[in-house]
């Protein structure tokens, strides 16, 4: 069964996929820098009237907690990555590597860029986890 992105169910499935992933256990091991929040920018024409935040408490290859959050809460995280819906869709489809996307300005980072650029393997493993969540998108019939 496919899960709508973004939604609480999708976040729960993503949490599970991360913690079941041998790739993230390995690739995410060096990540000890605290919570990363992802923010999907609002896009009313596809029904996303408010920004949607995803709170990921990642630490040494595991996700300790994941929940949907407001943009205000997301901005309290040490790393907060903003992107339009189409960009996150590209990320989930593995068409946009997130660190490259940040360098290209397609995703906007609030947080320490130096830490992000040296943790590309962790980011890559997270994307692999996202691709394992069967996803339906708001802009698709």
């Amino acid at each position: 069964m496919s899960i709508r992105f973004p939604s609480e169910e999708w976040v729960a499935a993503f949490f599970k996929a991360i913690n079941e992933s041998p790739e993230y256990l390995e690739g995410g091991k060096p990540w000890t820098y605290g919570v990363t929040a992802l923010v999907v920018n609002p896009q009313p024409e596809i029904g996303l009237t408010e920004a949607y935040g995803i709170w990921l408490d990642l630490h040494e290859g595991v996700c300790r907690e994941a929940h949907a959050c407001t943009v205000e809460e997301a901005q309290t995280a040490p790393f907060c990555i903003f992107g339009d819906y189409a960009r996150w869709k590209q990320v989930i489809h593995k068409e946009l590597e997130p660190v490259k996307g940040m360098m290209q300005g397609k995703l906007k980072l609030k947080g320490n860029l130096q830490i992000i650029v040296r943790n590309v393997k962790a980011a890559q493993a997270l994307v692999t986890c996202a691709t394992r969540v069967p996803t339906t998108f708001l802009d698709e019939p």
Partner: protein, 621 residues
């Protein structure tokens, strides 16, 4: 007309004379300046068969119309001549503070002809223009030369110094020219041309100003550009972490060469050598070229250990790869030391590192032995071997004499199959971006007019999506691992990138704004009110065709537009594992796109259309 200060000088080193060189406004607009104007002047002189290290190979040192203004990134100038490394068109561009200093002396450019019997330096000090004896400087490295000249010319304003080190004096074919201590005209051996003329240094100090055609518009656009740059992520990354900011990302996308182009992935190496690691360990501060808000240059210190170095210039990405990943060695302090020696001797750290990596490869296969290397084990992972080779090649001692002519010539001399271990195109060593991970870049390496080059165009930035110029017919995304449909992108990337070295402007700043912005800046500076993005692109095409024609006249044909075996061999691992660029597809599409005939020459009608009738008349006579 603004931008230009109005004077070009020809310095005859054989006779010791200095004369004015008239350049019309029409010629300036058509070829801009920098390496564009140099190519046209080279064409007019017609010395295609001149020995690159002989008296007939003229050396051009030219600024462009926006050089030395406050347009961000406009610190640059170009040096050009026939290259001793490649035998074809050679040029290099450099930041620092020389371009504004030259213009403040009321001079846009210099052409050095002939050959001095003894070491000399050329001095522009305010209104004084002179050739002076430099015998006491001969034998000094570039840092020592800069210090000595700054001591002897102490005063309110520090002079800007261009100099060569021992490598240039000893005619190392990839010798560089230093601007003070931080900036280098690195590629294609312009330092050796300077050395062959026994021109040790060029020194400038002046108080003049650069005329600006529309000061109000100029102020507005400069402010806008600074603001755009300050908001751009690539600029932020360059400022915080230098040009080596994304080595881990590069490793992930298959951009980083390892162990002489033989492996595709090693995150331990990239982690140890990356910009963030440098920031956490040896970095003292970032430094900027004249009028640049980015400040990507590194100043570092290695406080102790075998590679101890006082606070001074640190390595860029290219050197971190050429003396790091290419040698499969992860000692960042060792890279910093190698960089210091490259700077002091005055050698291009790309060609030097690649030629040394070729020697390591030869050593690993038994093609070079301890006897050949003077007892130095050239084993991958061992950076001291590379430092030892730098000392030898700068002085042409022992095996250093073999390495000093670059990898192509060295392999030809050594033979025994060592030719298969080089990675060069038209004699220029491939820079530190693996074209197996970026097929558009592979094509641009094949077709660039100075050999394998990543700086004469914007292809790398466009293919990796770092510069989004969607308003000029480019797509937002390109798949680096595909060869399909890359020719139009490469052609546009060349046409847009070539004029940067004529203007002369730093590519990194250009990543942060659009061509429409640049054209507004050019208009404000020069007063060319109808100058447009279209004219900019047509100028880029003209300059590319002109340089291609020069290369044809120096013997380049289609067979020279090819990838070396190293790059035609698939990598065993990494993002580009198992894939190689489709050379025939890329080149076939490109020849059509560019209008080249089967021998590799631009078609007559293409030259005519580009306003190069006089070039056509010579090329197709």
């Amino acid at each position: 007309m603004g931008g230009y200060v109005g004077r070009y000088l020809e310095v005859d080193l054989t006779r010791g004379s200095i004369t004015d060189l008239p350049i019309t406004e029409e010629v300036r607009r058509k070829y801009l300046g920098g390496s564009g104007l140099a190519a046209y002047l080279f064409f007019l002189r017609g010395k295609y068969t001149a020995d690159p290290l002989g008296p007939d190979n003229d050396l051009f040192v030219l600024t462009g119309p926006i050089s030395g203004t406050l347009v961000p990134g406009s610190s640059r100038f170009a040096v050009a001549a026939r290259s001793p490394l490649t035998g074809i068109w050679g040029e290099g561009s450099c930041g620092g503070d020389f371009a504004p200093a030259l213009k403040r002396c009321g001079v846009d450019g210099l052409v050095f002809v002939g050959q001095s019997p003894t070491p000399v330096m050329f001095v522009l000090d305010g209104g004084e223009v002179a050739l002076r004896d430099a015998t006491d400087l001969w034998g000094l490295d570039t840092y020592e030369t800069t210090d000595r000249l700054r001591e002897t010319m102490a005063g309110k304003r520090r002079p800007s110094v261009l100099s060569i080190g021992q490598a240039g004096e000893n005619l190392v074919h990839f010798a560089a020219i230093a601007n003070n201590k931080h900036d280098f005209v690195g590629r294609t051996g312009m330092g050796a041309v300077m050395g062959s003329k026994r021109l040790k240094a060029i020194v400038c100090r002046g108080e003049g100003t650069i005329p600006i055609a529309d000061p109000v518009a100029y102020k507005v656009i400069c402010k806008e550009l600074v603001s755009k740059i300050s908001q751009a992520v690539p600029a932020q990354a360059l400022k915080e972490m230098g040009t080596d900011s994304a080595m881990d990302l590069g490793m992930m996308i298959g951009d980083i060469p390892i162990a002489n182009w033989s492996r595709g992935e090693d995150f331990e190496l990239s982690n140890a050598l990356s910009g963030p690691t440098m920031s956490e360990t040896y970095l003292k501060r970032g430094l900027a070229c004249y009028a640049c808000p980015i400040a990507c240059r590194r100043e570092v210190e290695v406080p102790d250990g075998p590679y101890k170095m006082a606070v001074g210039p640190g390595p860029e990405y290219e050197t971190c790869a050429s003396f790091g990943t290419m040698l499969a060695q992860k000692d960042l302090a060792g890279v910093i030391k190698s960089n210091e020696w490259c700077n002091r001797y005055g050698v291009d750290s790309i060609s030097a590192g690649c030629t040394i990596a070729w020697a390591y490869d030869c050593f690993s296969k038994g093609l070079l032995t301890l006897e050949d290397t003077g007892g130095v084990p050239l084993e991958f992972g061992y950076v001291d071997g590379a430092i030892a080779m730098l000392h030898k090649l700068a002085r042409r001692e022992g095996i250093g004499d073999l390495l000093a002519d670059g990898s192509r010539a060295a392999a030809r001399r050594l033979g025994r199959g060592s030719e298969e271990l080089t990675a060069e195109i038209k004699g220029l060593e491939i820079p530190m971006h693996d074209p197996r991970g970026s097929h558009g870049l592979a094509l641009s390496y094949m077709t660039s007019y100075r050999g394998a080059c990543h700086k004469a165009h914007l292809v790398e930035a466009i293919e990796h999506g770092l510069a989004g110029y969607t308003d000029v017919g480019l797509e937002e995304n390109y798949d680096g691992l595909s060869s399909e449909g890359k020719a139009p992108m490469v052609r546009i990337g060349e046409d847009l990138g070539v004029p940067l070295n004529a203007l002369a402007l730093c590519e990194f700043d250009m990543w942060c704004y659009q061509f429409d912005d640049l054209v507004r800046a050019i208009r404000a500076v020069t007063g060319w009110e109808d100058f447009s993005v279209e004219e900019y692109r047509r100028t880029g095409e003209r300059l590319w065709l002109l340089k291609r024609a020069l290369n044809n006249l120096m013997g380049v044909t289609r067979v020279d537009d090819c990838l070396p075996l190293k790059i035609r061999t698939p990598l065993p691992d990494g993002a580009a594992a198992g894939l190689v660029p489709d050379e025939a597809l890329l080149l076939g599409d490109y020849y059509q796109e560019r209008g080249l005939d089967e021998t590799g020459r631009p078609l007559a009608e293409i030259l005519q259309r580009a306003g190069l009738a006089e070039v056509d008349a010579v090329l197709h006579r």
